[in-house]
């Protein structure tokens, strides 16, 4: 019962904020609505017993991607009012509705495997054992570190003033 109430509050807020992202003229406010949308999606993950995914959503999407989008807006001159709507408005609306129809069709027609029992185990510790135990994915984890190192060095080399 409590879960249902939580889900419906989160669902309504996330859909409303997602609509606000598209309909708000002020680009900065749209970015803040996007952060709210990410946050409510994290809440939906939490109601689905995916606690690690909820934490990762808050850290990566609300934290990193939200900050990066706001940075991109603040570093750009005269972008606050957004781009004026051009001739592509109607085709974009059509493609958007087509995509929505496809998604709804796929969702309704998929045979979802629903497990009867409620998952009670904390997913965080299971993920920790899958990555860090001796028969886990330690090599892939260290390769991820090398990838992040390449991202740091590459980004610094690309934009450093000569």
């Amino acid at each position: 019962m409590g879960m249902d109430i939580a889900f419906w509050i989160l669902a309504v807020v996330s859909v409303a904020s997602a609509l606000a992202v598209v309909l708000t003229r002020d680009l900065f406010r749209a970015a803040l609505f996007l952060v709210l949308c990410f946050f409510t999606v994290a809440g939906i993950y939490a109601t689905l017993s995916a606690d690690f995914l909820a934490g990762a959503q808050v850290l990566i999407y609300v934290g990193a991607i939200g900050v990066f989008i706001i940075f991109a807006i603040m570093l750009t001159r005269d972008s606050r009012q957004g781009s004026p709507s051009g001739r592509l408005r109607l085709p974009a609306l059509f493609i958007g509705f087509l995509f929505l129809a496809t998604m709804i069709f796929a969702l309704v027609n998929t045979d979802w495997n629903v497990v009867a029992e409620v998952p009670t185990e904390s997913t965080t510790s299971a993920i920790a054992h899958a990555i860090f135990s001796e028969d886990g994915f330690v090599l892939a984890f260290e390769i991820a570190a090398a990838l992040m190192l390449a991202a740091i060095i590459g980004a610094i080399v690309l934009v450093r003033d000569k």
Partner: protein, 122 residues
């Protein structure tokens, strides 16, 4: 899982607190408990602060980009540190060494940024 319930209650309480703080003066004004005596000083943005200069929506310095970039990298590192920290007592030495190597590899990038003067504000 119950902890998320506490987070939810905390969120509802904090939103309710913020809403009450905003609506309280409005309600008192509507009930004519608070008198209305306007003057120009009262309507300035910072009544006791400095006078503001220029627009509030300015273009920020591009050098902030480096800090945003490093923040994102260390944010991703935290995603890995979080399950590791939860289960460290059971992961024993192997998990500790694995995370040490991970942090050391990323620290190479941090030291590179440091040596290239990225963190210095010119």
């Amino acid at each position: 899982m119950d902890n998320f319930g506490y987070i939810g209650i905390f969120l509802i309480l904090s939103i309710g607190f913020a809403a009450t703080m905003i609506l309280l003066p409005v309600t008192l004004r509507l009930l004519h408990i608070v008198p209305r005596k306007p003057n120009p000083t009262k309507y300035t943005t910072y009544e006791c602060g400095m006078e503001t200069i220029g627009k509030s929506q300015v273009r920020f310095n591009f050098r902030y980009y480096y800090f945003a970039l490093l923040f994102v990298i260390f944010d991703i590192q935290v995603v890995f540190l979080y399950p590791w920290a939860v289960e460290l007592s059971q992961l024993k030495l192997f998990g500790l060494v694995a995370m040490m190597v991970f942090v050391l590899i990323i620290m190479v990038g941090f030291v590179y940024a440091w040596k290239k003067g990225v963190l210095k504000w010119k």
